[in-house]
Symmetry: C2
């Protein structure tokens, strides 16, 4: 049996960052930058004022005190955005607002709080040090400096950084479009009548939302019937784009185990590049993985909701992040102390949904009292971590330390 | 001067969770549940099989071993989703797939791995304990049990939990629509020509993206000119919905300081329920806050990009989260050890953008070498935390411990 790390790496080997597209800034949030953004100009472009006040030559005001103020004529009025570029001769002052370019000749800004705020003449009651309150051209960045590096996730500050260098469009990796298909004759759409033997489909909703949360666009399909030929036609229609347009990844849930009617396994029995393999992890042992004949990667996950959830986190989410162009595709982990304890399966790693306690030191307990065997997806709602129990551990005891994937900030 | 905590609480006092709307599951991700979701039925609804195998009466197979197998006739074949409800008489077995209802009379599932997988007769080579591999009706939840509580943020697992109880629609708080307006004659739209004295607008992009990341819908406007009457007309048009439809919050940047042309301050001079107040925090001292005459809450932030960013995090983001209906509107914090050190302003709290180091113990250093005074929004891109320095601290030294707001997972 392969380890879950091996299976994750096999999944990642099927995907690569998607092609580059140019998008406007309004569509850039959450995308991954595909090329370095550099500034063509110094930042700031011109010496400008860091305060509302008066631009002066320091030599003219160096002696100013409250007892011996200096009075200068105000020869210009420079609001932010002014196109005026006056020369400040000795003995003069220019009123200036934050962000306005410092006039040639001036070297210091006197904040308005140190003056009488005059508009014809200004009385200066104190002298800041020479050069104070001037933001110098190029002080933040020189022309050609890197502003946002390729591979960076564009959050609010990064989008703003791109805007700040005057770019309205930005090259990013195309956002992945991921089809999710839940399978099983026992499933009915939520809101539809539930007759004996059936239950509402939750996996297609779980996986579609998880794809969206991972930064992909989800095409949610299903629940589909347990007819292998119909499912194969659907998967091939997704693969060639004929049914719902092109998709970058197909994820199915259910029908991958040892049962007589396991529909995904049956449908893909003759697909040359898809294999069904046992993975040494609990939950999530039965997995299908490969490419459909047109080349679209496919992850076939088990159908138990907890297994689907864990399998998505371990295998699919990293693949979605790599398609987006991210270099680091893994959830952050932390070492946490276990508060409760539980038995684990021999010879297989275990992934236990856990909940972090409050307090500074990371502590966890099981989110699902029934453990990973619980079938109630509602209990998953309480999990904010996945504890990773190594295969060689047979029992987790209170006080043990485990590596835990953080699912939330 | 009020503290930033007081100003944050004054901001929060202006907002309340938005009205409840019903949305389909496809629109539920990221919304906040407005009413408890309970299950109307036991979960699972029926005793069902946890394995692919054979439903039997344990008394019939208790003696089975590899040396002395038990052979039973297979009288039914029960795939998942079957509507059949046979009665299993003593001495018989029913082939059953994972998830299919356990027939009346049967009490135990024999996994297929312990049998010869027969379809007419089955040879059973080992006996699981009585009752094994049956998921009992109500084992996860009883009818009436709470599945997702009001106030819960609907992530993938929560959306799936709602689906699992058969609900296709869900009552959530309406998503807030937030207008952001950057002001300043010195600003030009990114991509437009930059003449002497101007620079590209980044704040409207910063704030719009931050609103989206906080779960709101952003209406991005600006940059606007420094004409107070034009700005007032815009703000009133946002307030009454005439210009761009209703909005739940208005956020402006720039024009709130002591300058002669501070446009937001000038525009709102006669607005009765908006006040401009100094807040004892650096950056972010000048702040405007209140309600426009139609009742729409307004936050007027300073225009320096780092000040805008910090002000959004301290004041606006909690308000957006409260509008969404979240009870906990604050970023998680952690105590971190400072690696570098810096001077802080006397008598004012300081909020320093910082970057966490790698390693288990939280350690931080300044993200912007120029500190919070840096004007390069690009440097903010490196910050994944905001260190909160109390007002009484004058200097932060290496090794000091500070409370740090985490900006990312």
């Amino acid at each position: 049996m392969r380890t879950w790390i091996e299976h994750r790496d096999a999944t990642l080997a099927l995907v690569a960052p998607l092609p580059v597209v140019e998008v406007g800034l309004a569509d850039a949030l959450g995308a991954v930058l595909a090329q370095d953004v550099v500034t063509d100009t110094p930042m700031p472009r011109w010496d400008n004022s860091a305060m509302d006040g008066y631009a002066v030559r320091h030599a003219d005001i160096a002696s100013a005190t409250a007892a011996t103020p200096v009075v200068l004529p105000v020869v210009a009025d420079l609001p932010a955005g002014t196109a005026e570029r006056p020369f400040l001769a000795p003995g003069n002052a220019a009123r200036i607002m934050t962000g306005a370019p410092v006039p040639d000749g001036a070297d210091t800004i006197v904040p308005v709080e140190l003056t009488d705020a005059g508009t014809v003449r200004v009385r200066i009651d104190d002298a800041p040090p020479a050069g104070r309150h001037v933001r110098h051209a190029g002080g933040d960045a020189a022309a050609g400096d890197l502003v946002v590096a390729a591979g960076t996730l564009l959050g609010p500050a990064q989008v703003a950084a791109v805007a700040s260098v005057g770019r309205s469009r930005v090259p990013v990796h195309r956002r992945p479009r991921v089809a999710v298909v839940s399978t099983g004759d026992e499933l009915v759409a939520p809101g539809e009548p539930v007759r004996y033997g059936t239950l509402p489909d939750s996996n297609s909703w779980l996986l579609a939302a998880a794809v969206q949360e991972a930064g992909g666009e989800a095409l949610r399909l299903g629940p589909t019937s347990d007819d292998p030929q119909a499912l194969l036609a659907l998967l091939h229609g997704l693969d060639d784009g004929a049914l719902h347009g092109p998709v970058d990844l197909v994820v199915t849930s259910g029908g991958v185990s040892v049962g007589a009617f396991d529909v995904v396994k049956a449908a893909l029995r003759d697909e040359p590049d898809v294999e069904f393999v046992p993975v040494a992890v609990q939950p999530g042992k039965p997995q299908g993985l490969g490419r459909l004949r047109g080349g679209t990667p496919l992850c076939a996950l088990p159908g138990n909701p907890v297994s689907s959830f864990v399998s998505f986190e371990l295998f699919v989410r990293p693949a979605v992040l790599r398609l987006r162009g991210l270099a680091d595709v893994h959830r952050p982990t932390v070492t946490a102390v276990v508060e409760d304890g539980w038995r684990t399966p021999p010879g297989r790693a275990q992934v236990m949904p856990v909940r972090f306690g409050t307090g500074e030191q990371p502590r966890v307990r099981r989110a699902t009292p029934g453990g990973s065997g619980s079938h109630l997806v509602a209990r998953l709602a309480l999990a904010d971590g996945l504890a990773l129990v190594p295969a060689e551990v047979d029992e987790v005891e209170p006080g043990d330390r485990l590596t835990v994937m953080r699912l939330r900030a």
